[in-house]
């Protein structure tokens, strides 16, 4: 009971109410041990510093900076630890000057990409912050200083090589490709057709390489329509691409029109549905810069549906507003209306309902084409979410990795630009939380279907943490072409190496395989919630849903389930009468192993 920290219910007359919350601040608690460095990680500087903790006030302690992380440990009885990968830092600023008055008014302000900010104060004498500022600036933004990202310095070794998780040919074969209507094309082997596409593409069987070249001239950045997923039962497909280059004059392109016709004919879809992810007005506005959308008269066997999803700038501003109401202090008085005014959940709703429409069309036998402007942000969100709804393979731990490798990494979501890995230019207009938004949508789905996904919330959190950390190569660079040039897959470690070498902590014990089920989440605002455990995780006052005991219990259940399934198999093998019902077979061997469970920890 000694370590119990109790939330203060309003302004309580009782003394020393919240002084003990301190130790809960960091998720990664390494109470007294020194920093355990990663192989390849090197310590650069140590320094006495004051951490201005928004929840506990000024804390004296020591900061260590390595080429990978910023690590702070406070002095005193209630140790507060910060363990921040430098990759998560988006901005480092000096706070105050040598002549600033007031306590702790001289130091550093650090803005992070993962929904928090850090403030450190130093002694005002002797330019005490100069060295730490310069070092932070240099190692947090290595690319701006001609230095390599940490992923290239890491010497980490894992049992499994995560780069082998995704093999495009294997994945297409799993989908049943090629067929007599769809073929594999190697036209982009040297990234000559489209420099932001992967090397292996699936295209209509009837389309010649020459056709592909011609279509490429009419699609923004040569991102031609290619197959993402095919429904084994009705041969309906999800095809992705970029916008057509219609322009102000309303140009047409016979090859493009004929090409879409081939896609439609492949399974006899009566009307090909083209989902344009953008709001109608934005699609029209794009004509001014040479883009546009498929007009009615040019594409007569197609219907165009606009999904009203806003662009990267709107999403960036929305997340910024969300951060404003959750960090450091959570807006309490009008929480729900403040949340509403960020529009974050509304955007989530639009993305999800767009994906539902895509999935619905495809499962009822109609082929669809999905694009936005360039086909690497909203398009990736829509195709991957629709595939997650349609294909249970992607709901497994490894299948999900394949989905990310294929639809996001392979097809050139511009991770480097959207996240700004190692880049000091924090105000870059290209940055946007598109991938975070996608993961949020996945989380919403796991909430609505707690037994449909093999992986758990922790996997999603780990993915997001390493989206920024630069510890693994997985999310680096904008496209495959650049990855190849930088020898990414030979010189860095994949995030999936870490995940797949010990999957136990990422498994959902309640996962029940249902291979043919299409999941349609409810995209109504009533059923969407803010992912509190991610967005507000730095706030010690928000309950962490008691992660550890629940997971402990889950793991127990998982073990029991495996045991049970094994038993079932044995019974099925040994029993000649297949009708033996489970409940009839007594299971004495499952004698209360639950007794060994660690007792529930005190909340927090």
């Amino acid at each position: 009971m000694a370590s119990a920290s109790i939330p203060a219910y309003n302004s309580i007359p009782l003394e020393n109410s919240s002084s003990q919350n301190a130790s809960n601040e960091s998720l990664k608690m390494e109470p007294l041990a020194d920093v355990a460095l990663l192989p390849g990680e090197e310590r650069v500087i140590d320094k006495d510093i004051i951490y201005i903790c928004p929840f506990n006030g000024a804390l004296k302690g020591k900061v260590f900076i390595t080429n990978f992380r910023l690590y702070f440990k406070s002095d005193g009885d209630h140790v507060v630890v910060l363990d921040v990968p430098l990759g998560a830092i988006s901005r480092v600023e000096k706070m105050g000057g040598a002549s600033s008055r007031g306590e702790n008014s001289y130091g550093l302000d650090i803005t992070c990409k993962d929904m928090r900010n850090l403030r450190f104060a130093l002694k005002q004498e002797g330019h005490s912050r100069r060295d730490i500022f310069e070092i932070l600036f240099r190692y947090a933004f290595p690319l701006s200083h001609g230095l390599p990202l940490f992923a290239y310095l890491s010497q980490e070794k894992f049992d499994e090589n995560g780069w082998h998780v995704y093999k495009p040919m294997e994945e297409y074969r799993r989908q049943g490709l090629p067929t007599d209507k769809w073929r594999i094309s190697f036209i982009n082997e040297d990234y000559k057709l489209c420099d932001t596409y992967p090397t292996i593409l699936v295209v209509p069987f009837k389309a010649t390489e020459d056709d592909l070249q011609k279509v490429a001239t009419f699609r923004s950045r040569c991102r031609i329509p290619v197959l993402s997923w095919i429904n084994k039962e009705n041969q309906a497909v999800i095809v992705r691409c970029s916008q057509p280059l219609v322009g102000m004059s309303g140009k047409r392109n016979k090859d493009d029109e004929r090409y879409l016709e081939m896609i439609r004919e492949a399974n006899g879809t009566t009307k090909l549905t083209i989902f344009d992810a953008r709001p109608n007005v934005n699609a029209v506005a794009n004509k001014a810069t040479g883009g546009g959308y498929e007009g009615d008269d040019a594409y007569q066997n197609a219907e165009l549906v606009f999904l009203d999803i806003h662009n990267i700038h709107v999403m960036r501003e929305s997340l910024k507003k969300l951060k404003d109401i959750v960090y450091p202090n959570v807006e309490e008085a009008h929480w729900l209306s403040s949340l509403e005014s960020t529009h974050w959940l509304e955007h989530i709703k639009l993305v999800l309902s767009g994906a539902i429409q895509v999935a619905d069309k495809v499962s009822s036998g109609n082929s669809v084409v999905v694009h936005c402007s360039d086909g690497w942000d909203r398009t990736a969100q829509l195709t991957s979410l629709a595939m997650l709804m349609l294909d249970s393979h992607y709901r497994t731990l490894r299948g999900f990795q394949v989905l990310l490798e294929k639809e996001w990494i392979g097809f050139g979501h511009k991770f480097a630009s959207r996240i700004g890995h190692g880049d000091k230019n924090h105000a870059d207009q290209d940055r946007s939380p598109i991938f975070l938004q996608f993961i949020d949508c996945v989380w919403q789905m796991t909430k609505q279907f707690p037994t449909a996904f093999e992986f758990n919330e922790r996997l999603l959190m780990v993915i997001l943490d390493h989206l920024y950390s630069c510890r693994f190569g997985t999310f680096l660079y904008n496209c495959e072409n650049v990855r190849d040039n930088n020898l990414l897959r030979t010189k860095t470690v994949s995030l999936w190496s870490l995940v797949n070498s010990d999957t136990s902590s990422f498994i959902n014990p309640f996962y029940t395989e249902e291979s043919s089920r299409v999941l349609y989440p409810v995209a109504s605002m009533r059923h969407l919630e803010l992912w509190v455990t991610y967005y507000i995780r730095w706030n010690p006052r928000i309950r962490q849903q008691q992660q550890s005991p629940v997971e402990q219990r889950y793991r127990e259940l998982l073990a029991l389930r495996d045991q049970y399934l094994k038993k079932l198999q044995e019974l099925q093998l040994s029993d000649s009468s297949p009708s033996t019902h489970l409940s009839n077979s007594s299971t004495p061997s499952a004698a209360s192993p639950t007794q060994h469970i660690t007792r529930l920890q005190t909340p927090f």
Binding site: L14, V330, E332, M525, T587, A590, I597, R599, L600
Partner: protein, 542 residues
């Protein structure tokens, strides 16, 4: 009185029933004294709908009399006329009946209106419910205050059982036996009772075994405008102190409200008269405000327009979650005083039959592992709500749809269930009772086959022989056949206190109740069953 007086048309054929999750069905509608029955006569003879009339909160009817007559046989009747009855239930479900024939429709509607709002308790269904698997000789209730007292050995040194109220003369809304300090004799108690509204003198609600501190509850003292005092009441509370230096009074009204209460004869314990008791005010809404909040919330939940409907603002405007917040945080405060500070607490508002019970119950769930078991929880409800005199009859007469003028309705018990659901969400392992139990209780409190929630207090139950003439819900729920539906498959007992987080981000809409009739919840019920089967069949629990 015969129910048949109210039934002009008992059977109607070719009625179309529309209910959530089902395709419209055509069949026969039947009105009985207590039920609305519907059957489509397909194969087996089971009813597709068996609705307790008491469950109906409001009905809306619309009739159309289309011109056109046809003569079939000898009868000439308007064939085009028909009517639609929309039935809004207290469990928030909405049904629709399309009834051919205007007159039949109006008759049915009239019957429903009359029979669903019977005021006479002994005419209600629990007095007629006689299933073969229950016997009126079965034990009624889980425990009594006497048994409860016997179980708490450590308490008996300083606390005694008083039968001063055995004929309900001291306090009509208290049970016959109550637990009071040893040093307070019945005479003193009677005098102290006269100084408290409704005679609800301070009684023991909870004894914290870890440190011997207690939670007491009462109604407000009747100090009035001229600051009356009552020596016995002061001595009573002095006796509770038992030598410790400080104790707390948690008043569930704001300081201003407590001041105002003096004008109508009520009041609060002034510092000068109760000097070692520190009084804290935590304003909680009650009565009409709560009822209106529920109505707004249900309205927002039922609004099915799929546009950008500003759902979150509507949810916020209903204020329901802020009531959840104040209930949980006040309970947290009480629990904190007891467990962490080691002080006893007296809780009261004005009447001591609503928010007082809410706070005391939640504080016990936070502190007492026993109350988090299925049986412990039902015992807690029996002791702190049924026996302690929460006026169920008045508070649960209507739910969120009723058009009738509200009298004393207030969803205090529903708010309790919601708070318990929040605890369960925040501590997925700590409660043995699962969401299905809370949903069942939410329904039963408003309309039930059982007698448990009838009447407003023990005295009324005694007069109407509830315990002899109806069956007990709590006993029934604990039968092994029922029990397993209501147990949380993940339950893992803990001896520690469970401190809820009361930040608005930690409190959620109870979708299982309020959005129960939308598609989503259906799949969530399947999910629960899957989890249940994974856990129970494999661990040999339940």
């Amino acid at each position: 009185m015969e129910f048949s007086e109210h039934i002009k048309t008992a059977n109607v054929d070719d009625v179309v029933l529309k209910q959530p999750f089902h395709a419209p069905m055509k069949g026969t509608l039947c009105v009985t004294g207590h039920h609305l029955l519907f059957s489509d006569r397909s194969g087996d003879s089971s009813w597709q709908l068996l609705l307790l009339l008491r469950n109906i909160d409001a009905i809306e009817k619309s009739v159309e009399n289309l011109l056109g007559y046809s003569s079939t046989g000898s009868n000439i009747r308007p064939v085009g006329s028909s009517g639609t009855i929309t039935i809004k239930c207290k469990d928030l479900c909405i049904l629709q009946l399309d009834i051919p024939g205007m007159e039949e429709c109006l008759n049915v509607a009239r019957s429903i209106e009359a029979l669903s709002s019977l005021d006479n308790v002994t005419e209600m269904y629990p007095y007629f419910y006689r299933p073969s698997w229950l016997s009126l000789d079965d034990q009624w209730g889980l425990s009594t205050l006497e048994k409860h007292y016997d179980q708490l050995g450590a308490l008996q040194v300083k606390w005694r059982l008083s039968n001063a109220n055995s004929d309900f003369s001291v306090c009509p809304s208290y049970p016959p036996a109550v637990i009071v300090p040893q040093s307070v004799d019945d005479q003193m108690l009677v005098k102290a009772a006269r100084f408290r509204q409704g005679g609800r003198f301070p009684v023991l609600s909870y004894y914290h075994q870890k440190n011997g501190m207690v939670i007491l509850r009462s109604s407000q003292p009747l100090t009035g405008a001229n600051r009356k005092r009552c020596k016995e009441d002061e001595l009573f509370l002095q006796a509770v102190m038992d030598g410790s230096e400080r104790a707390y009074i948690i008043d569930t009204r704001s300081a201003q409200q407590a001041q105002q209460a003096r004008m109508t004869g009520g009041g609060f314990e002034s510092k000068s008269c109760y000097n070692s008791w520190k009084r804290l005010h935590r304003h909680m809404e009650r009565g009409k405000v709560l009822q209106e909040s529920l109505i707004k919330l249900v309205e927002a939940c039922g609004d099915q327009s799929h546009s950008m409907d500003r759902w979150l603002s509507k949810l916020e405007n209903s204020k329901w979650l802020s009531h959840v917040h104040s209930a949980l945080s006040t309970a947290g405060l009480v629990a904190e005083c007891v467990e962490r500070d080691g002080h006893s607490v007296l809780v009261h508002g004005s009447e001591g039959t609503d928010t007082t019970l809410l706070v005391c119950t939640l504080a016990q769930l936070i502190l007492d592992p026993e109350s988090r078991t299925l049986k412990g929880f039902l015992s807690l409800l029996e002791r702190e709500w049924v026996q302690a005199g929460h006026p169920f009859q008045l508070r649960c007469a209507h739910s969120a749809y009723s058009h009738t003028r509200l009298r004393q309705e207030a969803p205090v018990f529903l708010l309790l269930l919601d708070c318990v659901w929040q605890l369960g969400r925040q501590f997925p392992l700590a409660l043995e009772l699962g969401e299905p139990l809370l949903l069942r209780l939410a329904r039963e409190a408003y309309a039930s086959d059982f007698g448990t929630f009838l009447c407003n207090n023990e005295q009324e139950r005694c007069v109407l022989e509830v315990k002899d003439r109806t069956h007990c819900l709590f006993q029934f729920l604990l039968r092994s056949s029922e029990r397993e539906h209501y147990v949380n498959p993940l339950y893992e007992p803990t001896d520690l206190a469970i401190w809820p987080s009361v930040q608005p981000q930690s409190l959620h809409l109870w979708t299982g109740l309020f959005l129960r009739w939308s598609d989503h919840t259906q799949t969530m019920e399947e999910v629960r069953e899957e989890i249940w089967s994974i856990v129970t069949q494999h661990c040999g629990r339940g």
